[in-house]
Amino acid sequence: MEALLIPFLDATIRTATPLAYAALGELVTERSGVINIGMEGIIIAGCFGGLVAAGAGGAAMGFLGGALAGVLMAMIFAWFVLRLRADAIITGTALTLLGLGLTGTLYRGVFGLEGAALGTPSIAPVAIPGLSSIPVLGPVLFTQSVMTYLLYLLVPVLAWWLMRTHAGLALRAVGESRAAALAAGLDVRRIRWGAILFGGAMGGLCGATLVLAQVGTFTEGMSAGRGFIAIAIVVLGRWRAVGTALAAVVFGGAFALQYLLQAAGWALPYQLFLALPYLLTLVLLAALRGRAEAPAELASPAE
């Protein structure tokens, strides 16, 4: 069993990384009082954008391309919800359909039947000298891709920014009470735009990470519900940065569990493991009663 522990934890962190990007992006969006269930569409757009950009200019370009694709999708969302005052849920649903449909269409159109499996650049894990030799933690935490290491920096910075800067305070205020924020002279709409676009960029990075650092290729619908899981992760993390990151690890573990259990030879149908993360979300949402400590403005229309 011990021999399986380290690969399991390693897989957990690896799987959690893209989830964390999407969840942190959704966290910021929701902290501004807007729920974006179109994150699924943003992620898949990031997958495809990352694929195309990487093919053109290498892996680094791929991440940029993924983020950009995410931002573009988020712009559509923000335009409809903030400018046209459309319902955020319906717009988000449309965004998901748009993302899935558009990427599927373009993928077939550009890559045809052979697909893109060959020739997709990817990045390999990098061992941090010294730290990676620590027993157990070393291979698990410090032999990961650059995107994971980026998260180690991003999470504390985001936590600090949210709680200890005026900008973070303003974001939180906008998410709690639009009226109070307006009265304090804050530009609610601009802040929400920013939060949504940030969510888009992070969702796009999630997609790019999936393609370039985790799976190594693109398949239609590869986002597999991660956009919705990101929303659950934010709830589980109680709308805090560190909590969200930890919750992402929990979900990474759930995904990785299917490999662990298969390798351990348990004779359970593998579909159970497919369903497990989603069931976990439901159980946790019920246990946490999803609502306490949610930014108050989430229950109101965004504009």
């Binding site: 319906i90 449909g101 439901l282 019920a286 229309p301």
Partner: protein, 313 residues
Amino acid sequence: MTEALLALWDGAFGSSYAIWSATLVRSAPLLLLGLGVALAFRAGVLNIGAEGQFLLGAISATALAQGVGGDLPGVVMIPLMAVVGAAAGAGWAGIAAWLRHRFGVLEVISTIMLNFVALATISWMVRGPLQEPTRIYPQSAEIAHAAQWPFLIPGQRLHLGFVLGLLACVIAWVVLTRTATGFRIRAVGASPSAATSAGGIDVTRTVTRVFLVSGACAGLAGAAEVGGVTWALYEGISPGYGYTAIAVALLARLHPGWIIGSAIFFGALEAGASAMQRDAGIPSVVVQVIVAVIILGVLAGSQRRARPTGGRR
């Protein structure tokens, strides 16, 4: 481009086969699914789980057919399949309804999660308990003849499910506009606070009932698809019908009568899309883009009228 559009039109309306066996057959599930979504939205319930409820209806109808299909006559079998399918869909929706009522879980999230669980379930079913005897293909055996739903027009593939869908829409329209129950649903959707305070309406009970009915419609659609079209269960049995249903409902402005036209429109799109892929080489997944664009178009034009209001308290 014109070639593609012509292929699209041709595939949808170009021949009597196209109309009766392609367009309307594809509209059949959308009638019930769209109705279910519209009713839910009308009551303020964001049921995004039509897809999963549809699959559960298909699974249970298949299981029933495989179990007793050979033993019972069609006249018993078919209504039984319909009832079982509707019950399964209602039950699946009921999980989300219970989570919402008991734990305050947003149904937007829970219904989507359940969609994925349903996908995992059907994947298991067609590789396990319901798999065909040779155990080679991930699909069920063909259901017994008695369980196959009758065709309405000789030589065409239009089946009973289409009529059920039409009936359901008409009944729903009458209920919404003429009955006390329908009035309560509309009131709760428009303003749960006024419904409670001024009307003494039990919002939770009304909402839960609509949620279950919404699931039942989706489940019935699943049973009809198995009984009337595929005669077997397999993984891809729903090409995203549950999500298209949202577009159907929105385009119809949540009005049960207009669902009929909206469902036929989308059915035509799907039928045309297959033809378009076959004849002009454009991938049919493009329809998803069209659906998304239509939803966005309705949103842009409607100034928040299409919003499923209230319902969260």
